[in-house]
Assembly symmetry: C2
Homo-oligomer: 491 residues x 2
């Protein structure tokens, strides 16, 4: 019937320098940081430092495709929080600009350095500092790779639910800095909801350690929210305390066919009410599935008979009752006509194939170049109207472009991919879509962030008063704009 | 077996000026605010204004017991966002200080005005502006009473899960400003996690409208977190967009007896893994239950045979399977010895009685005067040690004081109530406990906030760098300290 989906296995944690067997006390914050300032050049002698063009190739671009126009001065790879403090302090004193890098898997160009920047790459800061298996929290350094973190946690019966395509290269510090979303936001929230505590190095090198471990802590301004989702423009994240969940025993998937977005909304409401273990609700339109079928060389589900398909996933126990829940739910809705058709996978391969259709977007995009892939948030009640107007506008710009739609609609996140367009029209494509997003009160970036690439369009999601306040906060925390300059908003 | 607990009924919403039957567009932000500044005295002619001592008695204290030392200049009760903007702007221009009031149910003295203050009471700002029954969100004005809001939402098949003792008088704007917690944080999070969008009037009267409705929105600094939990020190909340859930059909309660905190931790982990609909996990120590039995004139559950009892609640469907889940879960743990005893209520009265024990703290405290009632957050793994040291210290101060313990331990929130103490010792009691909280890295306020009363103790939960940054943000947003001066932190 339903089967367990692939997820990181415990063995992958072997790469990490984790010490999961003991409750290690966190290092005393800032305890061993010498007060005497070091110069950047003296630090370049003691901290791993790359300067040769051949050595720093990997540090010049990120997954957005954007690449540095000129070379950074150096790439520093500290292996302790103390080294991070010293680097940030030295840059502050010498007026050098820092580009902060995690796994460089971002899609908004945020990790791409400017010419002459000091690149602060956190990849060596990848240790587990405390695994509290009683309270269900883990304290890790910012450079730990998400997949290793998940595997390590699962090996001890716990679960960290954040999951996204870049799991094998993205780092938890980058996930926090960009407030990563992914496939399970509906049940567990975005990264923000999974972070209990943080440690941050401020622009002047001040170390601020807030390794809170409780779900409730009402002691004034919750400062961690200044750093979550601000993409390294207000501080360098060095440690995080994460909230864990009991490890689910199995995952169950199914595909439901519906007639349109009204039925999607109804299905979502019913699924939320009746399936407390619902973790994913992925919506794919007919032409998206057809395109996925082409690149996968497989017949699309239901041979493309239905306008929209929804891929549902639950996570729970490995019991007959749990296995029957999703099937029973869809059975009832088939009878009542609230879904038109359904596939309950009967083998591991069949379930994996459903997810392959969902994950085929990367391969599809390669057939649509030059394209624009939007990651937008649209209120569900306005999505039909938005799609109609946006796609009509895109068709006027380029009648031969395909407009493919899929999304994590459980949280209003729509991915619209359009192409091929004439290169000279790409900016017009963006402006057309973002104006429509603004008109329905949506978000120009549901999960990928602003970085460099969406900075010119920020005004379509954030009003003048908001932008002014964002700027005020940037000035208060990093008036010199030493951290990740030219990203998100200027000081 | 298990029964439905009392919750607000739809009829109570009759008090509200809600219009739940239509999707009303929100008023255009700031559209109709005249640009010409009004003086406070001219506004006092057009806005409901109370000045006579007899009329303003109710506005002089809050539920903390703290009362104003001198009279405020006036109490203004605006009935539109535009009036709030005009009032804040006028106060800013005339150098007047504002005390912002919701339902005055806070326990930290935050709503108590200073002599000469302008009190801004939001009680007339209580309309529903939009109820999106497709996406499951509601947009309401800040003065709406929580109980009315919940009833109105439930009448249409949705659910707003925030629940606390003051539900009949507290206002949603106050809930947001204090990041209220309550009984269901384990499943739904604190108020912060329930807020999608906000509208705020800044200290200079700027109206900032951020009525976001999506779960995902990564467009730079998420400004709403500057105002959630900062108790009106950075802005006046005027509108909120809330996330709704499908309405559960029934609640199921049960009481489990265990031998100590190790078993509590194990029970919590198992309950989180096996009961996806777990909404409450309330822990009561033996002497707390005995004290509750005395004031209720009832025999405590299990005749006080066991060291600790845990009250569990699930919320879900009204089906035989749902009804059997909690009973089956506890049955297994009884067999394995992981719980010592259990009560599955067989009538509505029996379930209500369990919750009466849990809710008896107010009556118990009246028998302990003078007392100190702590609302603290302690990591579960350190709770045993904390309790031992804190109670030993309290016994040295006053051997005859009772130290009663209960808490929402699913989220590390412990309520320790100690008394009677000699009045001259109360400060020493607080200092003793907060020092211990600091030593274990806990929170001096898990859910009640800082306000005026806990302001002197903030340093026990927030380090010097954190306090400096909090101050920097306060200065950037309200340098004159016109909003709720003397609360939380000084500018």
């Amino acid at each position: 019937m339903a089967i367990e989906r692939q997820h990181p296995v415990a063995g992958q944690a072997a790469n990490s320098r984790a010490e999961p067997d003991a409750l290690l006390p966190a290092q005393p914050p800032g305890g061993s940081i010498p007060d005497a300032p070091c110069t950047l050049e003296s630090l370049a002698q003691t901290v791993s430092c790359l300067r040769k063009p051949a050595d720093i190739q990997a540090y010049l671009q990120d997954a957005s495709g954007l690449a540095a126009a000129g070379l950074p001065a150096m790439v520093l790879r500290p292996d302790s929080v103390e080294q991070v403090v010293q680097i940030v302090r030295a840059c502050h004193q010498e007026g050098r600009r820092l580009t902060i890098q995690g796994g460089r898997s971002g899609l908004a160009g945020g990790a791409v350095p400017d010419e002459g920047d000091v690149v602060l790459a956190l990849e060596r800061l990848d240790r587990v500092e405390e695994f509290d298996t009683v309270g269900g929290t883990i304290t890790v350094q910012a450079g730990m790779i998400l997949e290793n973190l998940c595997a390590l946690v699962e090996a001890r019966g716990w679960y960290f639910p954040l999951d996204l395509g870049a799991r094998g290269s993205c780092q938890i510090g980058g996930n926090v800095a960009t407030n990563a979303g992914g496939n399970r936001v509906l049940r567990y929230g975005t990264t923000r909801e999974l972070v209990l505590g943080l440690e941050v190095v401020l622009a002047d090198g001040t170390l601020m350690t807030m390794l809170n471990k409780g779900l409730k802590n009402n002691t004034g301004l919750d400062l961690k929210h200044l750093f979550i989702g601000t993409e390294g423009t207000l501080g360098v994240i060095t440690r995080v305390v994460l909230r864990l969940f009991p490890r689910p025993e199995r995952r169950y998937s199914a595909l439901a066919a519906v007639s349109g977005l009204d039925q999607v909304a109804r299905l979502l409401q019913l699924a939320r009410a009746r399936l407390p273990e619902l973790s994913s609700f992925e919506v794919m339109w007919r032409n998206y599935l057809a395109a996925a079928g082409q690149v996968l060389q497989k017949t699309p589900p239901f041979e493309s008979r239905y306008p929209i398909c929804v891929l549902l996933e639950t996570e729970g126990r490995d019991t007959p009752e749990a296995a029957a829940a999703l099937e029973g739910f869809l059975g009832e809705l088939l009878e009542s006509g609230e879904v038109l058709d359904a596939i309950i996978p009967h083998s591991q391969e069949q379930a994996a194939m459903l997810w392959k259709f969902r994950d085929a977007i990367g391969e599809i995009l390669r057939t649509m170049q030059p394209y624009v892939a939007f990651d937008i948030g649209i209120p569900l009640q306005k999505m039909d109207a938005f799609i109609e107007v946006a796609c009509a506008g895109l068709a006027r710009l380029e009648p031969n472009a395909r407009n493919l739609l899929f999304g994590h609609l459980g949280d209003g996140n729509l991915h619209l991919s359009t192409g091929p367009h004439a290169p000279e029209n790409l900016l017009a494509v963006e402006e057309l879509v973002y104006r429509e997003v603004e008109r329905v009160g949506g978000s120009i970036s549901a999960e990928h962030g602003i970085g460099r690439i969406k900075k010119p369009f920020l005004k379509h999601s954030r009003g003048a008063a908001e932008r002014a306040l964002m700027q005020q906060v940037k000035r208060a925390l990093d008036g010199d704009s030493g951290l990740n300059r030219h990203r998100v908003i200027d000081a």
